[in-house]
């Protein structure tokens, strides 16, 4: 549905995107992951047609995107202002009038849970309400392809969860989604395929499960650093992060046996499946949010 071929974007003194190629298939939820400044938003803006690439090509359904393809694309920007002194309803109506075909606005209001705030001035919305309105505006033309740029940044955990449900609803309607995020949990929860970007380059690509499975053994065991028994030698592949010891291993029962035998306090011990966060750390050597 959407192809990026060797995209490069230069800003004065900075190569923000350095030769990125990938393909988004119809019906997919495709995630661009990376720390702040990795080039996610720039890549997304090139896909949206907002920014012209320095070199490289974008194909939407086999053709370079033009003004007509805007009718089929919905975009939620990371930071965008709406015109002042408009209500939620008026903002939606205005954007709806800009497109040839529009979604049924009432069902969009239902979907995005906007009934209670329809007559509210858009400047008086909370963070979550505002994101829901911006999403509704992105969907106002009933697009087949939807871009979401860090849709849950700045939301509290509850609002983020609600927003995820919303995005799952949209997916269920057969729309193709491309989103950026710096929350690994979000990508793991929502995306079928992810692209991890750092310094404008792709460092990994695939489904979240496959990526993690490829890089890690089955489990990660975590326990507080001071809970490690002194009489048990620390394995060489153990690492200490945020005051906790992490051990990637396929032999969890044997490790637990050793720890019990050495008399370790296992109250705070956790056995987990490695996640994208771990993957990112392993690939880049730095934390995603730092």
């Amino acid at each position: 549905m959407l192809r990026a071929i060797n995209l490069v974007k230069d800003f004065p003194g900075l190569r923000a995107v350095d030769g990125i190629s990938f393909e988004v298939r119809e019906g997919q939820c495709f995630g661009l992951l990376g720390p702040n400044g990795a080039g996610k938003t720039t890549t997304l803006e090139m896909l949206e047609g907002i920014t012209q690439p320095t070199s490289g090509q974008i194909l939407y359904r086999g053709h370079p995107p033009d003004r007509r393809s805007r009718h089929e694309i919905g975009i939620q920007f990371q930071s965008t202002a709406l015109q002042d002194f408009q209500t939620v309803r008026e903002s939606m109506d205005m954007f709806a009038a800009l497109f040839r075909h529009t979604a049924d606005l009432d069902s969009l209001v239902n979907l995005c849970n906007l009934h209670d705030i329809l007559d509210r001035d858009t400047r008086r919305l909370s963070g979550g309400q505002r994101q829901r309105l911006l999403l509704a505006i992105a969907l106002v033309n009933n697009p087949s392809l939807v871009f979401l740029d860090e849709p849950t940044t700045g939301l509290d955990p509850q609002s983020r969860r609600n927003f995820w449900h919303l995005i799952e609803d949209i997916r269920a309607r057969g729309k193709t989604l491309v989103l950026t995020t710096h929350y690994m949990e979000e990508a793991q929860h929502l995306c079928d395929e992810i692209l991890i970007i750092d310094h404008g380059r792709i460092i990994a690509q695939g489904s979240p499960e496959a990526l993690v499975r490829k890089q890690f053994p089955a489990s990660v065991v975590r326990l507080p650093a001071d809970a490690w028994p002194e009489n048990l030698p620390m394995p060489e592949d153990a690492s200490v992060r945020n005051g906790r010891i992490e051990l990637f291993t396929e032999a969890v029962p044997r490790l637990l046996q050793q720890l019990t035998h050495a008399g370790a306090d296992l109250h705070a011990l956790k056995v987990e499946t490695p996640n994208l966060e771990d993957l990112f750390l392993k690939l880049t050597g730095h934390d995603l949010r730092s």
């Binding site: 694309i73 965008t80 202002a81 015109q83």
Partner: protein, 338 residues
Amino acid sequence: MWRRILAILAARNREFYRDRAGLGWNIAMPVLMVFGFAFIFSGEPDAQFKVGVLGTDPAVASSPMLTIDHIDFIQLDDKAAAIAKVERHQIDLLLDLRGGPDYWVNTHSPKGDLAERLLLGAYASMDATPPRRRTVTGEALRYVDWVLPGVLAMNLMFSSLWGVGWVIVRYRKNGVLRRLQATPLSAVEFLAAQVLSRLGVVLAASVAVYIGADLLLDFVMRGSYLTLFLVYTAGALCLISLGLIVAARLRTEELADGVLNLMVWPMLLLSGVWFSMEGASPAAQTLSQFSPLTHLVDAARQVMIDGAGIIDVLPQIALLTGFSVLLLTIAARLFRWD
């Protein structure tokens, strides 16, 4: 296309009239300006009649005629200039006792008529032969008549330039333009909506100021309202287009404000809003021809003071419209969403 333009237009209009503070200012400023002018020009009409007397010799000065009550006698030397003063109502009557004797009166001046009666009554009461009557015509030209078309134009200029320049730059800065760019809306459609919205606002405000001025001030309006409206419409369109050029690329309101000020003050000084450019240097006069405000004020004065018809001011209207088309084309070419 029109549906998109109307949608943006409606949103911009809502934004304008719901912004109470801004709206208040848009109405208050012209009204305050009109009050200011009313205050400046509201001096009580002079109860005394002013009669010019030609010649300074003692025989004239001692004439018994020059003792009539309620008449201020002003000694004048230049006969032609004195007659011109009668024509422009600057004096009510002119008396020449040296020759004929003669007197000049403006048949369009009510005060001249009254002064004439006083004078003839004085002659009759003394059984003297009255001087020969000579008449001139001409309407009074007062500063308020002359300056009002300019004040209307100035107000329209500020509202036109800032109303698009400032607003679009703010839209660019806060991301409204980026959001709109991601829709099928074209730059020309967006700009058309901004021009139409501002044109409506500016003309409505100008009508309000005109009505306010009419209630508070006494000024001449000899032409047709329609002609005057067309003149101001052409002027507003031209100035809005100029504002669009400023707004085409700039990213901060502060810079836009500076650039707009830089354009406005030379125009105000060179366009003869406050004082006539007739005595100015040829260079300044040439330069003033490049300012749309000059042609706007010119045409408005012709309509209001001289009663010019649509044909008479067609050159200015055509010039302003042509200028608008040129500026709009440039603005659409220069325009950037981000």
